[in-house]
């Protein structure tokens, strides 16, 4: 039976909709009352090891059943076969038969998925060219590099052309070239209107993919949405602006005049460096112009002016730590 949810009219259009989902692993609480809604596009799922990322992904791909709460993928429970058709899943570890070639692997998976055998060759060609494995399709999986394996797993995930893709650690251990190709592949999927949930420890790659993040900790969502919002919500602390000028002995004078601004909470100089001024404030947008003005008035040559921990990767890092 397909789960008919109370607000199914609403959740029909939502790629992924979780409400109050909990999952126990024996005595260990994997997910704790988790509610989440995904929008189309790429969303990153972040969290340290053991925070419940893989559990969540297994639940969404219908391999686990939640102990409480409900999950809907386009309004359908992913535990049912109708639901499973809508989700493509690429696991974090390799569960391959190493002696098969990429093509064998995909052909057998296609048979298992119930695709007509007539359609399989053309479908495989199409999918292999999408993931860029067409020229190496006969390589045995045990001889494949990590990058090729990841792409084989993604090819497997998109066999049924699902609108929702769940990718667990697709960047782990891949070399830079494979990494770049994978980022491009995922961005390409995004333009096709797919919804992608991707987990990774490598924040640089996530930064290239998206600024929509879901942060998990101890099985709970600590933030969902754009990185900047996560920052504002979670790190309730003033930001620091780095003002780099051309080395100048009078930097202390500059520091004094910066302090005259009432929005500035503090100023510090980096040890041993005569050209960087760190300005602490809660309202960077108000302080920026003032800083530029002061520098110009006093003939300090600006080299650089930015909020230091604003880059998504940095924000996410501090969320990991904080």
């Amino acid at each position: 039976m397909m789960g008919v949810s109370v607000d199914s009219a609403k959740s029909d259009a939502v790629p992924l909709w979780c409400r109050k989902v909990s999952k126990w692993h024996g005595n260990f609480l994997g997910l704790n009352d988790l509610s989440l809604e995904l929008r189309p596009g790429i969303t990153a799922l972040l969290g340290s090891n053991g925070s419940g990322k893989s559990t969540l992904m297994n639940l969404i791909s219908g391999q686990l059943f939640p102990d409480s709460g409900s999950i809907h993928v386009f309004g359908i429970d992913p535990w049912t076969w109708q639901g499973k058709q809508l989700v493509g899943y690429s696991p974090d570890l390799d569960y391959f038969y190493p002696s098969w070639s990429i093509k064998d692997f995909l052909a057998r998976m296609a048979c298992l998925a119930g695709i007509e055998s007539k359609r399989v060759p053309s479908l495989l060609n199409e999918i292999l060219s999408v993931v860029g494995l067409l020229s190496v399709q006969t390589t045995l999986l045990r001889r494949c590099s990590l990058g090729m394996r990841q792409r084989a797993k993604i090819a497997h995930a998109i066999l049924m052309d699902p609108p929702l893709l769940i990718l667990d650690e697709p960047f782990r251990g891949i070399d830079p070239v494979g990494r770049r190709d994978l980022v491009q592949l995922l961005l390409q999927f995004q333009t096709l209107g797919k919804t992608i949930l991707v987990s990774s420890h490598e924040l640089e790659e996530i930064e290239k993919l998206t600024d929509q993040v879901v942060m998990l900790r101890s099985g709970r969502v600590v933030s969902a949405g754009p990185v900047s919002r996560a920052r504002d919500r979670l790190l309730n602390k003033p930001v620091e602006i780095a003002l780099e000028i051309q080395a100048n002995e009078k930097i202390r004078l500059l520091a004094q005049s910066v302090l005259s601004n009432s929005e500035v909470l503090g100023v510090r100089l980096l040890e041993g460096e005569k050209h960087v001024l760190m300005v602490l404030t809660r309202k960077p947008e108000l302080v920026f112009s003032h800083l530029v003005m002061i520098s110009i008035e006093n003939n300090f040559l600006i080299r650089r002016l930015e909020v230091v921990d604003e880059a998504p990767a940095e924000v996410m890092e501090s969320l990991f730590e904080g």
Binding site: R179, H201, E285, S289, R303, R304, M316, E321
Partner: protein, 309 residues
């Protein structure tokens, strides 16, 4: 840096396995510091590492460490990429064991083991069995076993693989500590270009067995001193108009605009800033456009491919 003895010097290094050339005429020279060894799969990195460790013999060419062609025992510490641990051993025992293999006396090895694990802030975990360790702890123990005999050259193969961001930053901190404050030389082989950009002084780029670049990171990545990225909010259009031809490109980010600015002298920058302010723009960010290792790396690979065709 330049006047010291080269830590590693390779001259026309070639290694063939049958008809397959894994390293082709590789020559480079690096000095003390953290050396990033970059390259995609099959670039010949692991073969190069084996040659440096003296586990393999080059088909032709030679390699010298600290100015000597013969690899001196106990001068090198190696942290393998594979798990390479004995699961039933306790953390500190394993490190001491590595020390004994390098010829330390049992007592010295145990003392060194504890010292280094202290240094890497491994607390009570050292008394647990390695089989129960998390990835981060295993990486630390592997770093410790490479350091236990106090080598001058550390060769680290993917030390940050599989680590979450805090653990990874910690590992990078340790590396820069050992290189900058303890004077060790570190060869860092990694797929994560971000790691290299964060800590390395020098970079060696390999692809298909050919050395594409070997120089300091700054030189490779470069610093385009005359280009700036300015993020402007407020009265964006007026600000861009006010910049005139100084503005070489702009990108509307919704709410603010990224403006790329070219200016010849540093005096001009303040001019530009004041122009933007005068036009009612609000400056959100003002950074010199630095080269990105990613871009440079892929440019190198692309160039090689073009030349080959």
């Amino acid at each position: 840096m330049g006047d010291e003895i080269a830590v590693i010097r390779c001259r026309n290094l070639t290694r063939k396995f049958g008809s397959k050339t894994v390293l082709n005429n590789v020559s480079f020279e690096v000095s003390q510091g953290i050396i990033g060894l970059l390259g995609p799969n099959g670039a010949g990195k692991s073969t190069l590492i084996k040659l440096i460790l003296g586990l393999d013999i080059p088909t032709s060419g030679d390699i010298s460490l600290f100015g000597k062609t013969k690899v001196e025992l106990g001068k090198i510490g190696f942290m393998p990429e594979a798990k390479a641990i004995i699961p039933s051993m306790k953390g500190f025992e394993f490190v001491a064991f590595a020390g004994e293999l390098e010829g330390l006396k049992r007592k010295d090895a145990l003392r060194r083991s504890h010292e280094i694990l202290d240094c890497l802030s491994m607390g009570e975990a050292r008394f647990r069995k390695l089989g129960e360790y998390s990835t981060g702890m295993i990486q630390k123990v592997k770093l410790a076993q490479a350091l236990v005999h106090d080598p001058d050259l550390l060769i680290l193969d993917e030390p940050t693989a599989g680590l979450d961001p805090p653990a990874r930053n910690q590992m990078l901190d340790y590396l820069s500590y050992f290189a900058r404050q303890q004077g060790k030389s570190i060869v860092l082989s990694t797929h994560l270009l971000g790691d290299v950009q964060a800590v390395c002084d020098q970079v060696v780029v390999l692809n298909f067995g050919v050395c594409l670049a070997s120089c300091s990171l700054e030189k490779l990545v470069g610093n385009k001193a005359d280009s700036y990225l300015i993020e402007v909010a407020g009265n964006q259009i007026d600000a861009i108009v006010a910049l005139g031809e100084r503005c070489v490109g702009s990108q509307d980010m919704g709410g603010f605009t990224k403006v790329f600015v070219q200016c010849d002298s540093s005096l001009g920058i303040n001019n530009i800033a004041s122009k933007i302010l005068a036009a009612g723009g609000v400056i959100k960010k003002f950074v010199p456009l630095e080269g990105n290792l990613d871009d440079v790396f892929f440019a190198l690979l692309d160039k090689q491919r073009l030349v080959a065709n």
